[in-house]
């Protein structure tokens, strides 16, 4: 199963509800294109909801990092919401847990952006 992205806006924050697999090929490219499109439109505060991500590989992890860097370089913020245990473990192993701002409550996450 490839990755699906649904986009919504809450209080000026763009939430990407991701589902499926973020892996080399389609999933990673879809995430990259989605973030690039948002930045091009001036949406710089992005919350990635990973609650329905079933699988992520090293390419997908790399894509999360690249998205984080792109948004930061554009003067925005990218945060992660609703990590599954598997994704949580992977971010801990790779020490990226300290890089990302990770939330488990959507309302709190929305309120944490600088805006």
């Amino acid at each position: 199963m490839s990755m699906h992205v649904a986009t919504r806006q809450v209080d000026g924050i763009t939430i990407l509800d991701l589902s499926g697999r973020i892996t080399l090929g389609e999933g990673s490219v879809t995430l990259r294109d989605s973030v690039r499109d948002l930045l091009a439109k001036g949406s710089k505060n992005i919350l990635l909801n990973l609650g329905n991500i079933t699988y992520i590989d090293s390419s997908g992890i790399g894509e999360l990092v690249s998205a984080f860097t792109s948004v930061k370089n554009a003067g925005g913020e990218l945060k992660l919401l609703n990590l599954t245990k598997k994704v949580h473990d992977l971010l801990q192993i790779t020490k990226l847990y300290t890089v990302f701002d990770i939330k488990d409550d959507e309302a709190a996450a929305i309120g944490s952006f600088k805006k």
Partner: protein, 135 residues
């Protein structure tokens, strides 16, 4: 199995790894880790080894012994020096968009061996079955 250098081959290797790991009796937490390590090895062989060259192939073999699951993935690429890979945990590398595949393989398997082929590289991934609980 011998496979062409495409992402479809990665999926085949991944599915086979899942079957073997489950049949070897690994628990539900360990099977996904083995599958991920094998997938990363297959991606490495196709992407970094064979560089998607349609003239080159990868081979994958799976073996279950009394105490281990042994997976071998080989490519026909220019070769890989495992001692000179950047550390993905180093501060200067932590924000890199790639370079975590071998690290994850080592994290999830008990033994990882690299063998130089002519041409190519063979990775051997070994996961030991948990020792029996004392009576």
């Amino acid at each position: 199995m011998t496979l062409d250098s495409s992402l479809a081959s990665v999926d085949k290797v991944e599915r086979t790894a899942e079957d073997f790991a489950a049949r070897a009796g690994f628990d539900e937490d360990t099977v996904p880790n083995i599958v991920m390590a094998v997938r990363e090895a297959a991606v490495n062989a196709i992407l970094h080894g064979n560089a998607y060259d349609t003239a080159k192939q990868i081979t994958a073999s799976f073996e279950t012994t009394a105490d281990s699951l042994i997976v071998r993935i080989a490519d026909q690429g220019p070769g890989l020096d495992p001692d000179n890979l950047p550390d993905p945990l180093a501060p200067e590398n932590i924000l890199r968009g790639s370079g975590r595949g071998i690290f994850l393989i080592r994290a999830f398997m008990d033994e990882v061996h690299f063998r130089k082929l002519h041409p190519g590289t063979e990775l051997t991934l070994i996961k030991h079955r948990a020792p029996a609980a004392p009576a």
